[in-house]
Amino acid sequence: MIEVQNIRKQYGDVVALENVSLSIQRGELFGLIGPDGAGKTSLMRILMSLLLPTAGSASMDNLDVVKEYKKVRLITGYMPGRFSLYPDLTVEENLKFFATVFGTTIEENYHLIKDIYQQIEPFKTRRAGQLSGGMKQKLALSCALIHKPEILILDEPTTGVDAVSRKEFWEMLKRLKNMGITILVSTPYMDEATLCDRIALIQEGKIMSVATPEEMMHSFPEELWTVSSRKIYNTSKILEIIPSLISVNSFGQVLHLVTAKGQHTTESIREFLTKNGEHDITVESDKATIEDVFILLMQKHNQTI
């Protein structure tokens, strides 16, 4: 449904995207996971025909995003990272405006947005600029959906949004996917990756890995241990000198220790810590999360430059 081939985007000397290729299937909920500045927005803007690539090509539903951009715009809905509706128009006026631009009416496609729009409908006479963050987000999604797009592109819809509203937003995306809409969504929150069918990890303009979240977590090439102690900051300092160390990072109340495969057991780690004066510790073998995968890939990437 979405094909990206060897896309490169350069702004002056800065390379925002380097040789990016992706293939997204019809009906997929696909996540683009990476921090600010990774190139997520550039890629999405190229797909939306709002930006020309320096090299390479991309198509959506077999329509070239450069040559057939007018047709591309008819079948896609886009929610940019920055709120970009008309703040001086009311909620209802904004929605009506977007429907009219695409030659449709609110009534015709109301079924698509019903679940989402109903939550802000009590405020439909309020100006969009005066809505809270969560409501703005729901209105923007409604406007992106009102012309019944086949593809929905969402640029960091949950950034700066609290944990509860984020969960609700992902539930909405699941429902839209079940209606058959292909969704490309970007996020800097690694925990949201597991909610996608497939994900691409992106960093400094390069795609580091593409797979289902499960595949990615299972294919973690090293060994991971969860270590907890009373003072994890001290414990992490000590673990920085353990032999065969790849990384040690805090994950909430515990540490994730990554060591080269086959070099350690829970006993050998515990022994190392005890020898260095740490007591009351627990060490368990554990599975990697997407964030662990991302950190490892970033580390390897940094070592090669």
Partner: protein, 242 residues
């Protein structure tokens, strides 16, 4: 922490905008040298409260004392004794690293010799010596945030307020940022921080959770998890806010 000497005292804090109550009778204390997490849904009233504590907005009523100064009459003294950084406002993009440091050092009224010494120490620490003449706008976000934090504590304030300092930052830099926070705490600086990353809530000594203008929970992460029978702070937050 352990030392329960309060550096922020808030009694019956109320802030109204017209008929809307943004802060509805808040009561809490922040102790010297602790990392105090300030968590809540969007629109819960966190930013309003922070702006008041920084002396940027006047409360409707209540008694508040920050770094030993009264919030109504000594806001200028408060500003000298605190640092502030947010995800949005960090530094001047058109100025170089060195120029930004000079500028903020001047704003904080630091002596030139002190500023120079602190600048050297900070650039060494951040490994940025070679880049001191680079414009801020050319730096990756992660560097900017680490630099913004270091500048926010350049004048060795008693308290530093961090408003979503790690939003959108990559997972490695996010952790390096927290290491900087720990280092600041070890120097005796009190940290007041907001975040949407619930794993970061675990790194705080105490966490307060706001909902609809009120503080609905305030305790150590450990006690909150026990109280709400949750395995992590994410679960605590969902149970409280939903």
């Amino acid at each position: 922490m352990i030392n329960k000497e309060p550096v922020i005292k808030v009694k019956n804090m109320v802030k109204k905008f017209g008929t809307f109550v943004a802060n509805d009778n808040l009561n809490f204390e922040v102790y010297k040298g602790e990392i105090f997490g300030f968590i809540g849904a969007n629109g819960a009233g966190k930013t309003t409260a922070i702006r008041i504590l920084c002396g940027l907005s006047t409360p409707t009523s209540g008694e508040m004392n920050v770094a030993g100064y009264d919030i109504y009459h000594q806001t200028e003294k408060i500003k000298k004794n605190i640092g502030y950084m947010s995800q949005k406002f960090s530094l001047y993009e058109d100025l170089t690293i060195a120029e930004n440091i000079r500028f903020f050092g001047g704003v904080y009224g630091m002596k030139i010799t002190e500023r120079k010494a602190r600048t050297e120490e900070m650039l060494e620490r951040l490994d940025l010596m070679a880049f001191k003449n680079r414009k801020i706008g050319d730096l990756p976000l992660g560097w900017k945030q680490k630099l913004a934090f270091s500048i926010a504590i350049l004048h060795n304030p008693k308290i530093v307020f961090l408003d979503e300092p790690t939003g959108g930052v990559d997972p490695i830099t996010r952790r390096q940022f927290w290491n900087l926070i720990y280092e600041a705490v070890q120097k005796g600086i009190t940290v007041f921080v907001t975040t949407h990353y619930m794993d970061e809530a675990e790194y705080c000594d105490r966490v307060s959770i706001m909902s609809e203008g009120q503080i609905v929970a305030l305790d150590t992460p450990e006690n909150l998890k026990k109280q709400y029978n949750a395995k992590n702070m994410d679960e605590v937050f969902l149970k409280i806010a939903r």
